[in-house]
Structures are given as C-alpha cells and as structure tokens.
C-alpha cells in the first residue's frame, strides 16, 4: 500500500464531499439534529397513561382506592365512567388505555375482612408503545401498597398492636432495592449515551452508501480500473474521509450527551475514544460493503437505510435489550457491531469502566471492522466480470 496514493485518493474524495455543499452540511447537521430530536422525544418512562375508573361502590374507601391511581405519575385520571360499556367505548377508541372497575361491595367487603375483587382492563393492542406487561406491574404495585395498608390496619385493630408492628408481622421479608448506575431510573441518562450508538448506525452507512456505486453509475470507476491504484488503496482512500467526518460527529454527540443532556460520564475517555473509532470504522465499512454489492444508487440507498433501521431498531439493544431477545433475533443481534458498542457506551458512561472491563468488546468491534473490510477487498475487482 502506497501512502501517497491513499492520501491523494482521500483528498479527491474529500474534495468531492466538500464541493457538494448541501451534502456536506447535512453530514454534520443530520447527527446533531437526530440527537436532539430523539433526546427529547424518546423516553422509556411510562407516564400519564390515560385511565378511566368505573366505580360501582362510590364510598370513601373506593374513592381512596381510585385516588391512588389518579395521584400516581404513571396514570392520567380521565374521569369516572358510569358503566363498563362506557369505559369500553373509550378503550376501543384508544382514548384511554386502562379501565379500572371497582365492584359494588368494595367498602363492605374490605371492612369485613373479605377478599375484594377489582378488575383492570389494559389495552393490549399496542404493546410496542407501552408494554402492557409494564402497565400490569404498575397496577399490581399500586394494589400491593393498598393491600399492605389495609392489612396492617386490620391486624393493628385485631391484635391491638401499633401499625408499624403489624406491618413487620405481615411482611417478614423486606426487599431493599438499590438501583445501580442510574439510581434515579432517569431515562435520559441512559438514553443520551446510547443515542450516540443509535445515531451513528444510521448516519455512517448512509454517508458511505454511495461511495462506490456512484462511480459505477457515472462510469468514473473505469478511471480507477485503468489506474495503477490497488484495491486496498482505493478502499482506504474511500473510507478515510468518511471516518474522519464520523469522528467529528461522534465528538459532537458526546459533547451534547454530557453537557446538554447531563449524562454522567464516569469511565475512561481513552477507552471510549478507541471503542468509538472502531465502531465508526465498522459502520462506515458496512456502508462501503453494501455500496460494492449493488449496482444503482437507488438500490444502495434503499438497502442501506432499511438495513440500518433493522439493525438499529431490532438488533442493537436500543429498544429491546439483547438479553430479552430469543432465537433468531438473539443470534442476529450478536452478528452486528452495535450491541458490542452499546456495552462500551454503557460501560464508559454509566458504569465507570475502562479497558480492563471493555477490551473484549473492543476486540470484537475490531474484528467486525476488519471482517467487513476484508470482504469488501475480496468483492471489489478492478475488472468487471462479463
């Protein structure tokens, strides 16, 4: 590989990018804009789920019970419905997502120490937005607190002891939960760092996607075929300018995550920088590989954008943690670089880790980058097959 020729090729690529002013500005604007839009928009918190209550009892106890939901930050109380049918109509139009039905003997049964049934109906048609399972656990948690208070009061009356003592008798095991790394369960702290991974998986392949196929379409590639430039030099010259743009972008995204969104960065900056550079090489060379495989720019853009969406949405661990995936999806997630970079991002930001804990992930990223480049090298021929 001749360094002078690589530099000459990279300069030619750079000049091409710089001359397309709109493309150049988009190359820097796009990641920053996406970071802000997603940083504000994507929230894993479940808040203000619209809720309607059907209260057949209408007693102080039933109202107090309904108030627990109305005052929870997870639910947004949208009022009382007279009948189940009215509540169901609201559910079917998706204007509420949870309906709570309190039976007619709520207070009487509760005071006489019987088991009281309450029904909750959860809209399960759209689990992707608001995991009904999470909603179920919120409903259960509120019920558990209500039950615990009712029971303690009951036992205190029954056995003539204090409320605290009654609670201790009834709840022998106390779970002391500590949340590590993100102790306030603040979703922006965990979302902002992972957005670096997410935004780059779209931007980098898209910046590179047309690299080779554009020359194929215009015929400029024949200049390369006829020249003394080797395959390796050509690929290196293509990758270098885009990876450089990526490095600037990644720095901007890191600054936004730390200083704008206030995400804590506790780990080693050097380790994070190495991991990020490897990830940039991975994602850029993936775009280059796709560009080599197809013959028109339209196809390149379609395949790259949809592949990036599939990988970013499904196999990166961004929305669905890889630990929850099963079967084919679990395998596929391990076959793409984002989940390893996600480990680096989470490790360096939230867990305060350095090379000691993350070297394995970075080694895998390096292997992916090397692999993509090797496949591109093997696929790129200076003589087109007849």
């Amino acid at each position: 590989m001749n360094a002078a020729r690589v530099v000459a090729l990279a300069r030619k690529e750079w000049r091409e990018i710089v001359r397309d002013r709109i493309f150049l500005s988009l190359a820097f604007l796009l990641p920053v804009l996406l970071m802000f839009v997603f940083g504000y928009g994507i929230s894993m918190d479940i808040e203000n789920v619209p809720l309607v209550v059907v209260d057949h009892d209408r007693t102080p106890s039933s109202r107090a019970y309904a108030d627990r939901f109305a005052h929870s930050e997870h639910f947004d109380f949208r009022g009382l419905a007279e009948t189940e049918r009215q509540g169901e109509a609201l559910l079917s139009q998706a204007s509420v997502e949870v309906m709570l039905v309190i039976g007619p003997n709520f207070e009487r049964d509760l005071l006489s120490g019987r088991e009281v049934d309450v029904q909750s109906f959860i809209d399960g048609s759209f689990p992707a937005t608001r995991v009904p399972r999470a909603l179920e656990t919120y409903v259960e948690a509120i019920d558990a607190v209500a039950t615990a208070e009712v029971q303690s009061a009951w036992l205190a009356r029954r056995a003539g002891v204090g409320l605290g003592a009654a609670t201790a008798v009834l709840h022998p095991i106390k779970l002391d939960v500590r949340y590590l790394y993100n102790s306030e369960l603040r979703s922006i702290w965990s979302v902002a760092p992972t957005l670096i991974m997410f935004v780059l998986v779209f931007v980098m392949p898209m910046l590179m996607a047309l690299g080779v196929v554009r020359e194929k379409e215009t015929g400029a590639i024949y200049n390369v075929y006829a020249s003394t430039v080797t395959r390796g030099e050509f690929l290196a010259g293509k990758l270098a300018p885009t990876v450089a743009i990526g490095a600037v972008n990644a720095t901007l995204l890191w600054l936004i995550a730390v200083f704008y969104f206030g995400a804590p960065f506790k780990g080693s900056l050097a380790c994070f920088a190495v991991g990020t550079l490897l990830y940039l090489i991975c994602t850029t060379s993936l775009g280059l590989l796709l560009s080599l495989l197809v013959s028109t720019q339209q196809t390149a853009l379609m395949i790259t954008s949809i592949s990036a969406t599939i990988i970013g949405f499904q196999y990166s661990g961004f929305f669905n943690p890889v630990q929850s995936l099963t079967g084919s999806s679990w395998v596929l997630a391990h076959a793409f670089p984002p989940m390893y970079y996600l480990d680096v991002v989470e490790g360096a930001f939230l867990k305060g880790m350095g090379f000691g804990g993350l070297w394995k992930d970075e080694l895998i990223l390096a292997a992916f980058g090397g692999g993509y480049i090797a496949v591109s090298y093997a696929l790129f021929r200076k003589r087109s097959r007849a």
């Binding site: 309450v118 399960g124 759209f126 689990p127 009904p132 409903v139 853009l301 999806s329």
Partner: protein
C-alpha cells in the same frame, strides 16, 4: 378539457405508471430486497421479539445458608431470573454487575432466618439491579418484589396462626385483563409494527430516489419534452408506489400476519388496504417533495433519513408520545404515521370502522394533499 382529452390524459398516465413499475421490476436486487422486507424479514424479527425480563442473570451472596434463604434463592428462577452463581464476597457480586455478566445481585444477610423465626421482625434482603436499561431494571425490581412477597405472605400466615388468628387478612385482589390482544401475544402486534416500519421507509425512499435519479441522469429532460404535464409525472410516480406498497402489504398480511401471527383484522381487510393506499400516497408525496429539494442521490438519502427516522421512532411506534415536549408532539402529529398507527391498530385489533376512524383518515389525507401541493409547486418551478 373535453372527454377525449381526459381519456388521453388517463392513457398517458397508465403508460407512465407502467414505465415506473418496469424500472422497479427490472432492478432484480431491489425487487428481491423489497419482497424480502415484506415477507421473510417480518417473520424473522417477530419470532425473536420480546419485551419481558427473561432469565435475568442473577448472582447470589447467601450469608445465612438456612432452609429459608435457600427457599428464597430457589424461587428466583425462570422465566424471569436464572441464578448464575454464588459468591462468598459481596464485592464479587458488584463486580459481576460492572462487567455485565449479571444484571441482578441478591445479598441475603446472616440473620435472615433468625429474624424470620421471630414472630414480629422483618428481615431485609438487599437487591442490586443494573438499571442502565431502565425498562428491564424496573421489571426486575417488580418481579423480585412479587417473589419476596409470595414467600413473605406464607411466613406471615404461619405467624398469625401461631398467634391464634386463623382468618386470612383482607386483600385487594386485582384481576387484570388485556383487552383486544387477550393472550398478550406481543408477536401479533409486533408483526404489524414491523410491516408499518418497512412500508414507511420504502414509500418515501423509493419515489424520492427514483425522481432524483431522473434529474441526475437527465432523463427528466425527456419527460419534459414529452406531451405530459408535471401533474401526470408526479401522479404516475405516486400511483406506482401505491401499487407496490399494496402488493407488498397483501403479501405480508396474507402470507405472514394472518396465517403465522394471527393478526385478527377485526375491522375488515378492505378498509385496511384502502387506508394503506391513502397512507402510501401521502408518504410518496413527501418523498417527491424531498426529491425537489435535492440535487443528488446522496443529498436525498440524507434528507429522507432526516425526516423519516424521527417520524418512525417518535410517532408512537416505539415510545409513547405523551412524554414528549409540546412542540415535538405537534410536529409528530403533522406527519402521517402518527395517524396511520391509530388507524391500522384500530382496524387490526380493536375492530374499529370508518365510523370512528374518519378523523384520523382525514388527517392523513389532508397531510398528503399538502405534500402533493408543495411537491407540484416546487416541481413546476424547477421546470421553468
């Protein structure tokens, strides 16, 4: 325009649509990829999808080593937890969380069984949870709490019995039912979500790149000297896209969604396809607007990503819209996907008809018309 002129215009439109379709079909790689994303891709991603806590790797430090502590560890099992190891030093547990080899650490103190044995004491168990993934962290805490409460209430009952209280304490028993998707089969709705995502990208990207290609190659000049109007050129591109989308959706609905994942289509397939056509034409209009803004394929690719990605991930497919800032909520509602999600899930699961869905349908149509007008205006201006 008289009758024959209108017939002529219609014939021209048909010719143009056939040209668009032929271009698409001749690109074998693109065609194969399009078929893949509407069929096999939905199967593969949906089969592996899951939103629940699954076998969270749990490390235990048991200082008590009693029957009671072992019983608690026993109950931390599949499907939610799996105990991957015991450590003798609590610091090793914290390290396992750091390294990511475990996501939950349970620390049972020395006096656990002793306190449980007394009639009125509480034993505390420490639970450390990796919450770098917020949703899983919350579920882990909830499920562990449920397990501890289960064991705790058994012990409490025994304590009460010993004190001579035999009747069970009152309790509020909540019975949850999931509406519309009774078995809470994530896969049915996830398959529809995947279809919508694929459709949304293709509907913007294909016409946008096709239009820019004509500019780049100069074939647009040929269309301009041909006796067809800009409106016809635009309509032909949109109509071709709608046809491709309908064919892909039919493949997905009858080949994957209904037979494999049991999406019920309660509101009827004809209405669903009609709404898909409406949505696809609105998006194709957006694609053409973007094409008039770009001069090269590279530019239009980035422009599409810039508009479609936020629409895709913020319209309520992946995260709830209620949590967003006001301005962003308004912006999202100006894009057609937000309304189409309400429509498509309404038809597929909630069994809604046009009687309740018409405001959303009207919104999609209105947004589409704006895109159309904007595209036509820009297109005409560029021709001068």
């Amino acid at each position: 325009m008289d009758g024959s002129g209108l017939r002529m215009a219609a014939r021209q439109l048909v010719v143009l649509i056939r040209k668009e379709l032929r271009q698409l079909v001749r690109d074998r790689v693109l065609l194969g990829f399009t078929v893949y994303i509407f069929s096999l891709h939905i199967v593969i991603t949906t089969l592996g999808a899951s939103d629940d806590l699954r076998r969270a790797a749990t490390v235990v430090h048991d200082d008590d080593r009693s029957a009671a502590s072992r019983e608690l560890v026993q109950r931390l099992r599949a499907p939610y937890f799996t105990v991957t190891g015991e450590v003798s030093d609590p610091r090793d547990g914290a390290r396992a969380l750091d390294e990511g080899s475990a996501s939950v650490f349970v620390d049972i103190p020395e006096d656990f069984s002793e306190r449980l044995g007394r009639p009125d004491q509480q034993a505390s168990v420490q639970l450390l949870i990796d919450t770098s993934k917020v949703s899983l962290g919350y579920l882990a805490a909830a499920y562990a709490g449920r397990i501890a409460d289960g064991l705790g209430s058994e012990i409490a009952r025994a304590r009460l019995a010993r004190a001579g209280i035999v009747e069970p304490p009152p309790r509020i028993e909540s019975r949850e039912r999931t509406w519309y998707n009774f078995t809470l089969d994530l896969r049915a709705s996830f398959s529809l979500q995947t279809l919508i995502m694929m459709m949304s990208i293709a509907c913007v990207m294909l016409p946008a790149t096709a239009a820019v290609r004509e500019k780049e190659r100069g074939t647009i000049e040929q269309l301009l000297v041909a006796p067809v109007s800009p409106l016809q050129i635009m309509l032909s591109k949109v109509a071709a896209m709608v046809m491709v989308t309908l064919a892909g959706t039919a493949l997905a609905v009858y080949g994957v969604l209904e037979p494999i994942f049991g999406v019920p289509m309660r509101g009827g397939a004809p209405l669903f396809f009609l709404m898909v056509a409406l949505y696809a034409s609105a998006l194709a209009g957006l694609g053409l607007v973007l094409a008039t803004l770009a001069r090269s394929s590279g530019q239009v690719g980035l422009l599409v990503i810039l508009t479609v990605l936020p629409m895709l991930f913020l319209s309520g497919t992946s995260t709830p819209i209620e949590g967003m800032p006001q301005a962003e909520q308004i912006a999202i509602q100006m894009l057609p996907l937000y309304h189409f999600i309400h429509i498509s899930y309404g038809i597929a699961f909630r069994g809604e008809g046009i009687g309740t869905l018409w405001p959303s349908a009207l919104a999609v149509a209105g947004i589409g018309s704006v895109f159309f007008a904007l595209g036509l205006w820009r297109f005409r201006r560029q021709l001068r």
